[in-house]
Amino acid sequence: MSEPLLVRLGRIDRRWIFLAMALSIIVPMLLKVRFPEIPQPMARATFEAIERVPEGSRVLIAFDYDPASQGELQPMANAIVHHCASRGHKMVFMTLWPFGGPLAERTIDDILLAYHPGYKYGIDYAELGFQPGNEGVVKLMSTNIPKQFPTDKRGTPLAQVPLLADLADTTGFKLVVSISAGYPGAKEWVQYANGPAPEAFTFVSGTTGVQAAQLLPYYPAQMEGMLLAVKGAAEYETIVEEKYPPPQHPERIGDGRVRMGPQLVAHVLMIVLIVLGNLSMAAGRTRGGMR
């Protein structure tokens, strides 16, 4: 007697699952399916934390991710840079990841200089670039930034860059943002920069979804705001765009919301697969019992 379809479905070749997943992502992307986002408390807290920083403050933005995580983190990076620039903050960019530098460069070109062309290098923004050493970089920055970064990314001594000339350590920033894909990242900033001087600056982070469990214990005591994965980015984009609409190329801070369409379909597919797997298991057990 041949097995019922439901039982056979439990042993389906995984390539059919891969195909279903591919379609669930590609089709909504092509159809540009978008859903309204209702900002949740964590996204709001992140927005409010940055809003509370006085206008024109010096802020540090750490691009602690690489191209592999760009899909999940670039939307929030874009929105954060636009938000900070809309507040007139002076931004210092750096990265703890070897491949993070070009991502920061691209964000500067696509968002900062495109939306805020008045920003001048050395006065309104600067780049420290990448330094090897993982958490050692953060530890040294919390006591002596010029020792860790003798020059900026362009090779100019810090003393000759107006924005960085008087920068001694991380307490010289009013806000530190870590857009983090893993190690080193937000956790190291909390432990080695925020920990020794918890009141010196506001710390917010944007992280991948998989890191959420590890970083949630730090919210809201050590981290005043946290954006989790594309969902957090989409909610944050909604809030930022409402208060600071981009002057041109609005799609550049809309990627998070665009990606929520495929995410919804993919999640529904996963639920369907889980239910199917369990029905197949139940059918197999029932059939075995009947024998």
């Binding site: 699952i17 191209p67 592999a68 899909g71 949630l216 994965a229 919804l264 993919a266 199917l276 369990n278």
Partner: protein, 237 residues
């Protein structure tokens, strides 16, 4: 005996010194010094690793073993990135020092290194990361089976978190008044409760266990009880 004693002595002394150095204001920078020394050693070790990579792949090419073409691609990519990166071939001249070759920007989009970064490394890395989506689906299909009470709880939690991570959760539970007695049944509230209470508690417990495990392993290594890392004649394997 010296082959065993000297490495254990080095590990023990440096371990104890660096742990105690953390607590004194006079010696707190020793730990950072040790990290610098490690980075120097690791940097020099790149030569070993790179040499090993070249040797293994060149042997494969010369012996024409199956898949030798991939070894050739590996060697070519290695040499190309090394050349364009280390020697800054094709780098965009610096504005401040246009005549100094090594002051050029090799990460710029118009430099070969930058081009390879944006058109090869970046999409390949993103592709590998994106494969996780497919593997998560197949893992969920295979592993999430309601075999007992714990797995049923796991399934229920998975459904709530999956739905609330999208607009579907808001659509399905958005009609529940937020201020009512059953307001906690809204998807975003359930998710918040699961992630901020249940998950955080579990993660903290695992984190505490990990920290204790690290201390125990460190004590074993510093006291020389665990010697499985030592070379022949010294290992306890």
């Amino acid at each position: 005996m010296l082959q065993r004693t000297i490495p254990i002595a080095i590990l023990s002394i440096s371990g104890i010194v660096l742990v105690l150095a953390y607590f004194s204001p006079f010696t707190q920078s020793w730990g950072e010094q040790a990290v610098d020394w490690f980075n120097i050693i690791a940097g020099i070790a790149y030569i070993l690793g790179g040499g090993n990579l070249l040797r293994v792949n060149l042997e494969k090419i010369s012996a024409q073993r199956p898949g030798w073409a991939y070894a050739a691609i590996t060697v070519a990519a290695f040499v190309a990135m090394l050349g364009f990166g280390l020697l800054k071939l094709g780098a965009v001249p610096s504005e401040k020092y246009p005549d100094v070759h090594f002051a050029g920007d090799y990460e710029s989009n118009s430099a070969p290194y930058g081009w390879m970064y944006w058109n090869v490394i970046s999409p390949l890395g993103a592709t590998m990361f994106a494969m996780l989506a497919f593997y998560v689906a197949s893992a969920a299909f295979r592993a999430f089976r309601a075999k007992n009470l714990e797995s049923v709880l796991l399934l229920g939690t998975a459904f709530i978190v999956l739905l609330s991570a999208t607009a579907a959760g808001a659509y399905l539970t958005g009609w529940i008044p937020a201020d009512s007695a059953v307001g906690f049944m809204r998807a975003e509230r359930l998710r918040t409760m699961i992630t901020e209470v249940v998950q955080t508690a579990g993660m903290r417990a695992i984190g505490i266990g990990i920290a204790i495990g690290v201390v125990a392993l460190s004590v074993r290594l510093i006291l020389g009880i665990d010697r499985s890392y030592l070379s022949k004649d010294g290992g306890a394997a």
